[in-house]
């Protein structure tokens, strides 16, 4: 096919020409045919539609009520019996996790650290040793008794 170099203006006018062309024309009897076709199609009356819509074509099974009550009872039991238990278990788990999160590291730290009581005794003994020369015999004995809890 031979290529033609068109200017943009020529190209635009060519496109316009092609777009405006009506390659297919309706037959002379198109309108009449369409109307005839519409008439041939049976019209759905509102009454027929309403009759179908308002119909209740299916009936429940004979034991539907019994089964449904049983199901409702069972579901309710699950909700009112097991759910509080699950909720309680969940809250206990949350509490334990919380305790572990906050107390766990502290306990570990205490276990690894030198014993507090020991450090306290050492500090007290040092203080008493330092203070002993300042106390007379009776005071020192009383203080010792108090510390020993006798």
């Amino acid at each position: 096919m031979k290529k033609r170099n068109l200017t943009s203006r020529e190209l635009d006018s060519r496109i316009d020409e092609l777009l405006s062309r009506r390659s297919a024309s309706a037959s002379a009897s198109f309108a009449a045919d369409t109307i005839a076709r519409i008439h041939r199609m049976p019209e759905v009356s509102d009454d027929a539609l309403d009759a179908m819509l308002s119909a209740r074509p299916v009936a429940p099974a004979a034991d539907f009520t019994r089964r449904t009550v049983a199901l409702a009872r069972r579901e309710n039991k699950i909700i009112y019996f097991f759910r509080p238990m699950l909720a309680a278990a969940a809250s206990i788990a949350v509490c334990l996790t919380g305790i572990w999160a906050y107390e766990g590291p502290a306990v570990m730290q205490m276990a690894n650290a030198p014993h507090d009581d020991y450090a306290e005794i050492v500090a007290l003994a040092s203080a008493l040793d330092g203070a002993a020369p300042l106390l007379d015999g009776n005071n020192a004995e009383t203080l010792t008794c108090l510390i020993d809890g006798k």
Binding site: E43, D50, L53, S54, V58, P60, F64, T68, R73, N76
Partner: protein
């Protein structure tokens, strides 16, 4: 929550019941629900008896499967029973019931979108019949259910609630959390689409 529906129908004394011959005042259902709230299982059974047929048919038309319709109806009653302790008779019971039902239906549609399944309904298997007339009826039913299934959920639900459950436009609007105008538009469009799809059948 489900029970917390607007109270615009609290003064409505119109009737709503399974079939026209057994119409009873709105108070009957609410009274039953109040007894259910106290844990009365007989009242629950009575409530189920009154509403099982409309509910199953609502689901059946919406999802075109008897087994799933029955499952959804059961789940609706279970939800109703579960939320009974919080129930306040502020709206007509039917509004409350179908509000719960519609939520389950929407969940079912979402589930189907995630996991599309080709289900064979046992009811369909029983529908095979040598009787020509019965077969025609079954085909019409099938086509009708298909056409309903092709509607958008809102359109189908609004139309079914209006024509099958005989709820008013106002009730449907409350139940579907939409304006009355929107409900009318959905119903108009649903009808138009059904007419188009069922043109050669009905």
């Amino acid at each position: 929550m489900d029970a917390a529906l607007p109270a615009i129908f609290a003064m409505d004394d119109t009737l709503q019941q399974d079939d026209a011959s057994a119409r009873t005042p709105i108070d009957a259902d609410s009274a039953l629900m109040m007894r259910v709230r106290e844990g009365d299982e007989k009242a629950l059974a009575e409530l189920i008896d009154r509403w099982k047929t409309p509910l199953i048919n609502f689901f059946y038309r919406s999802i075109n499967s008897y087994a799933q319709a029955e499952d959804l109806a059961q789940m609706t009653f279970v939800r109703i029973y579960r939320s009974a302790p919080r129930y306040e008779p502020r709206a007509k019971f039917s509004t409350y019931l179908f509000h719960v039902a519609r939520r389950l239906l929407i969940n079912e549609y979402r589930h189907r979108q995630r996991k599309p399944l080709e289900t064979v309904d046992p009811a369909d298997l029983h529908a095979v019949s040598d009787n020509e007339e019965a077969r025609d009826v079954s085909e019409i039913e099938e086509a009708f259910n298909q056409a309903i299934g092709n509607l958008p959920e809102k359109h189908a639900t609004a139309l079914l609630l209006l024509k099958q459950q005989e709820l008013s436009y106002d009730e449907i609007a409350v139940l579907m959390d939409a304006s009355v105008g929107a409900v009318k538009t959905w119903i108009f469009r649903a009808r138009a689409q059904l007419r188009e799809e069922l043109g050669g059948i009905l």
